[in-house]
């Protein structure tokens, strides 16, 4: 028992020292590299309207499928739209969508996980059973069910993804909440007659916030990947939105004649996902050691 509490204390100390974590990230070259690219992508996404040389939606049928030129740096697509501008706006779209999914996931997963871990007993059992159901079904299937039975749209895709991905998230948060519940400061809080809400929000949530943030960073890469996939097969963002998955889907038709069209959005996706994954791995290593 004593050993266990000590271990909990140690892990808690680890979670709390966010300064240490940040320092440790900077000792890892790959993580710093990832961080720089992520920062660059965020800047591009925010300043998309300033940076993009052209309107990403402007159709110009006389400029279809043209090569690079001073006005269109990477040329134009099948509707004469500027590829660079669409890529730049695509960064904004990817980040906005993934933040929505992440936010919604947290909004569902955190309260349910906290409740399950804090309440315990029957509520916990019921919630865990439900989570198990969600975990046994592939993400893609549920997303297809929701997006397919409702209208395929960005909104429905975001709802679909969040409604599936909250489950593993909630389970981990439940575990952390249970761990936090057993610590000494909880006894102290109870002794001081704090209400349940006070305990949950002021004490538990604050204690498990840093690892939650790390988990979220680790997820962004796969969320961006999934968003692009869904948009690619027509279940997510709809044309003419400048989104990387849609750009790839558009390019498929011109594979024989204009293979470069499918290179640019693909590179944009993989670079972004890799950058977030590098950063996430770095954060994970920092929190583990």
């Amino acid at each position: 028992m004593q050993v266990k509490t000590q271990a909990v204390k140690r892990s808690n100390a680890r979670f709390c020292s966010s300064h240490g974590i940040i320092n440790r990230i900077f000792t890892q070259k790959a993580a710093v590299f990832g961080l720089l690219i992520v920062a660059l992508i965020i800047v591009i996404a925010i300043a998309a309207s300033v940076i993009a040389p052209n309107d990403p939606l402007k159709v110009n049928m006389s400029m279809r499928l043209k090569g690079p030129s001073p006005l269109y740096w990477l040329g134009t697509d099948n509707l004469g739209r500027c590829i660079v501008s669409r890529l730049i706006w695509g960064a904004r779209m990817s980040l906005i969508y993934s933040m929505c999914v992440l936010g919604l996931m947290m909004a569902i997963g955190i309260p349910i996980g906290l409740l399950s871990g804090y309440a315990g007993g029957r509520i916990d059992t019921f919630i865990m059973r439900t989570i198990d159901i969600f975990l046994s079904l592939p993400t893609f299937l549920m997303a297809l069910a929701i997006a397919g039975m409702l209208e395929p749209s960005v909104k429905n895709m975001i709802i679909a993804m969040a409604s599936v991905w909250w489950a593993p998230y909630a389970r981990i948060i439940r575990g952390m909440a249970m761990q936090a519940k057993q610590q000494d400061f909880m006894l102290a809080a109870k002794a001081a007659a704090c209400t349940h809400t006070q305990i949950i929000f002021r004490h538990i949530l604050r204690n498990i916030a840093p690892p939650i943030i790390v988990m979220a960073t680790l997820e962004i890469g796969s969320i961006i990947l999934a968003i692009a996939s869904f948009s690619f097969i027509g279940l997510g963002a709809q044309p003419p939105t400048p989104e990387w998955g849609i750009m790839l889907s558009d390019s498929k038709e011109f594979m024989q004649t204009q293979p470069q069209l499918m290179v640019y959005p693909g590179i944009a996706i993989i670079v972004t996902v890799m950058a977030f994954n590098l950063l996430g791995e770095g954060l994970k290593n920092a929190i583990q050691n």
């Binding site: 046994s136 039975m149 395929p152 692009a228 027509g234």
Partner: protein, 309 residues
């Protein structure tokens, strides 16, 4: 053992009910559109009355729960309704298209198992060697690579450039080797990592040390003593992985124009052919449940500790 399986099957009924209810409610939310779509098919430019007539005929005006119960009754009897687009029974559609998806997913699972076990085991055994480094790079590549983009690239190389497969589709491929490779390569990373970690953990266990002291050869240590132990959690994950391959094959099927169930489901989404989508989701859910059950049985056979539980 049989009794166990029976009990397990029984507990799975709520899962299926939940899934079917969710898909049904989602479907009913869009039934307004459906009546119009059907009416448009029948009357070209339907009047309001004609749409309402279709609505009554199809039973869309009844309360959702009533509709659900009658749908469920049919479903239990093996009737999942009729496709809106070609009026064929949904069950027939599934039976016709599923073998292709199964073939693709099974091949992908085979590749996935070969890749992940080879890389996972060798990187754990020769940790720090060149194969370990290769497998690390592969893992990172695999979790970051968009499957559909990799599929497009392979389609370009093998289809447009080498002409080995048809770019425009049709079933020119006898075996879906390239689609299966795409799927397995892009999802292999997590399994390589999983096997590597498990194997490393097991190789540090006391019984491995004891077996070494006993004089067991390193080859036998790995194949007989370590692998079985390291495999248990992996089998579980591979089961879920097979489920994801089956359900996730839609993207790859559509890229390579492989006429499977996933492709059918995607087409049906575009055509708003809800009974087919609904049937697909339910069928897949049943399949997932059966896969999970099979995995549990396999684990029970391998691990004697589970038999008494």
């Amino acid at each position: 053992m049989l009794k166990d399986i029976g009990e397990r099957l029984f507990t799975l009924i709520p899962v299926l009910l939940a899934v079917s209810l969710i898909t049904f409610i989602l479907g009913s939310m869009s039934s307004g559109d459906t009546a119009r779509t059907l009416a448009e098919k029948k009357y070209d430019r339907p009047t309001y009355e004609q749409i309402e007539e279709i609505r009554t005929e199809m039973g869309f005006d009844r309360p959702v729960l009533v509709q659900y119960v009658s749908w469920l009754e049919d479903a239990v009897r093996g009737n999942l309704g009729f496709s809106y687009s070609n009026d064929r029974p949904v069950v027939d559609e599934i039976v016709q298209y599923f073998p292709k998806t199964f073939q693709l997913s099974l091949l992908a699972l085979l590749f996935l198992t070969i890749i992940s076990f080879t890389l996972g085991i060798s990187s754990a055994v020769f940790s720090g060697s060149w194969i370990d480094k290769i497998s690390r790079v592969y893992c990172f590549w695999s979790v970051s690579m968009p499957e559909f983009w990799f599929g497009l690239i392979l389609l370009y190389i093998f289809g447009a450039r080498l002409g080995l497969i048809s770019v425009l589709g049709g079933n020119s491929m006898k075996f879906p080797i390239i689609p299966a490779l795409t799927m397995s390569l892009c999802s292999g990373g997590i399994y390589v990592r999983l096997i590597r970690t498990n194997m490393e953990e097991v190789l540090n266990k006391g019984y491995i040390r004891a077996a070494r002291a006993k004089g067991v050869s390193e080859y036998k240590i790995i194949t007989k003593h370590a692998l079985k132990n390291a495999m248990l959690p992996v089998i579980n994950k591979l089961g879920i992985g097979f489920g994801s391959l089956l359900a996730g094959s839609a993207i790859i099927e559509s890229i390579f124009s492989w006429n499977g169930l996933g492709n059918l489901a995607l087409e049906s989404v575009k055509l708003k052919d809800y009974p087919v989508v609904q049937g697909y989701v339910l069928f897949m859910a049943v399949l997932m449940v059966l896969i999970n059950l099979t995995v549990d049985i396999i684990c029970g056979i391998i691990d004697p500790r589970l038999k008494n539980v």
